[in-house]
Amino acid sequence: MAKQRVKFTFPTELIRDPVIWRLGKEFEVVTNIRRADVTEDRGWVVLELEGELEEIERGIQWVVEQGVRVDPVPGDILEG
């Protein structure tokens, strides 16, 4: 089993969608929210995903396809 810490950033049009619930329902991935800030027009959620590595990657791919931005928790690692 693998774990990945990620940050989801939601655009306004997805604020009302239960994306994280669907991620846990449609993929063999346990979602564990640690920190979040969501308002009516934007939001971000920091969470840990646990499951087989390939399943986590499939799940993240699906989340990205929904229109959610997915980043590593430390922000951009690539520096000048």
Binding site: P72, P74, D76, E79, G80
Partner: protein, 430 residues
Amino acid sequence: MSYASHLRCRECGRQYPLEPLHVCEFCFGPLEIGYDYRALARDLTRGRIEKGPLTVWRYSDLLPCDREQAVDIGAGFTPLLPCRNLGEALGLRQLYIKNDCVNPTWSFKDRVVTVACTKAREFGFDTLACASTGNLANSVAAHAARGGMQALVFIPSDLEQGKVVGAAIYGPTLVAVDGSYDDVNRLCSELADKYPWAFVNINVRPYYAEGSKTLAYEVVEQLGWRAPEHCIVPLASGSLFTKIWKGIKEMAWLGLVDWAHTRMSGAQPQGCSPIVEAWERQSFDIRPVRPNTIAKSLAIGNPADGYYALKVLEHSGGFGVAVTDEEVVDGMKLLAEAEGIFAETAGGVVIAALRRLALDGRIGPDELVVAFITGAGLKTQEAVLDKLVPPLHIEPHVASFEEAMARRQEAVAAGAEARSTWRPGQNQQR
């Protein structure tokens, strides 16, 4: 000796021992170094600092590792130059440039990497890693070489050859990654979880970031133990900005300066300005962007410390400024022509922002201002290559030289080849 005592979560305040950790196990908030300030206040004096070496390790009491073990290639204690010409051009009577172009690998990254490399070796790591498009790669490769460590440097596969040389010369393993910047970020995050490396801005990030505080200590000491009234700093991840602020505040907490109400202003290129954009919206919510700017060393679309940089902007009463690529080039030329400093594009961003703040009256003419120039221009020559006056081509005799000079003077008089930005005695204020 180091007075670092623990790691502390910047979000929930939980404390951890000094280990290679970077996020809180509970809330995944970022960790930073805590110090025994009571002992520091008792032991640290100006005299004790002044007896130290002329490098960042002069301030080792305020860093998270001991200077006896330092992997030191001579980073820090760079010049703080009073800038009469540039000050005259901008209507500022007390302007200083902190010139970090002259570090061993020609950027401020040597300050953070010397600390990261020293701490990594202390933790027992044998490999130092990073993902970079330039300055960080150079510094990691150089310090790893000096420290007898393996270096692993990840670069985007479309990076120009010229940028690779400054790292490759030190003999690291360079890994060119196919894919977008986002792909490189995600890959490196996964690799850092999987392999036992010291990834400078991931698992040893709390230690790495502390190196930036030395810029503040040096400026305060070089000003005769005074804090500046206004600092202009380039913003990428936001870490440098917040650490300069922390460094100035520490000087005040420890009684080494009497006054430390410095205004902190941050500069970004318009093509990658998520922090300034949030500041302009009066929000603490950073909206990540896809960078598109010539200032590649500031091209961080999802800044790790953006939120904390916004807090510093608010608390200090500073300003956020985003400048166009054209202004960046003008800023580079202005600094070079007025003060003889060839800065990289990030320096152009700072000078362009300084100029805006001065013209808008947001900096007073008598404020004690320090602008931070963080990297040398030879690394980003392409930005100005077609903006410079070409050489005169002549035959090897005096008449040919004099003809060419006369033609050049005519062209200058007609305005075609003027040094566009600054001349001695010419005040640029509108």
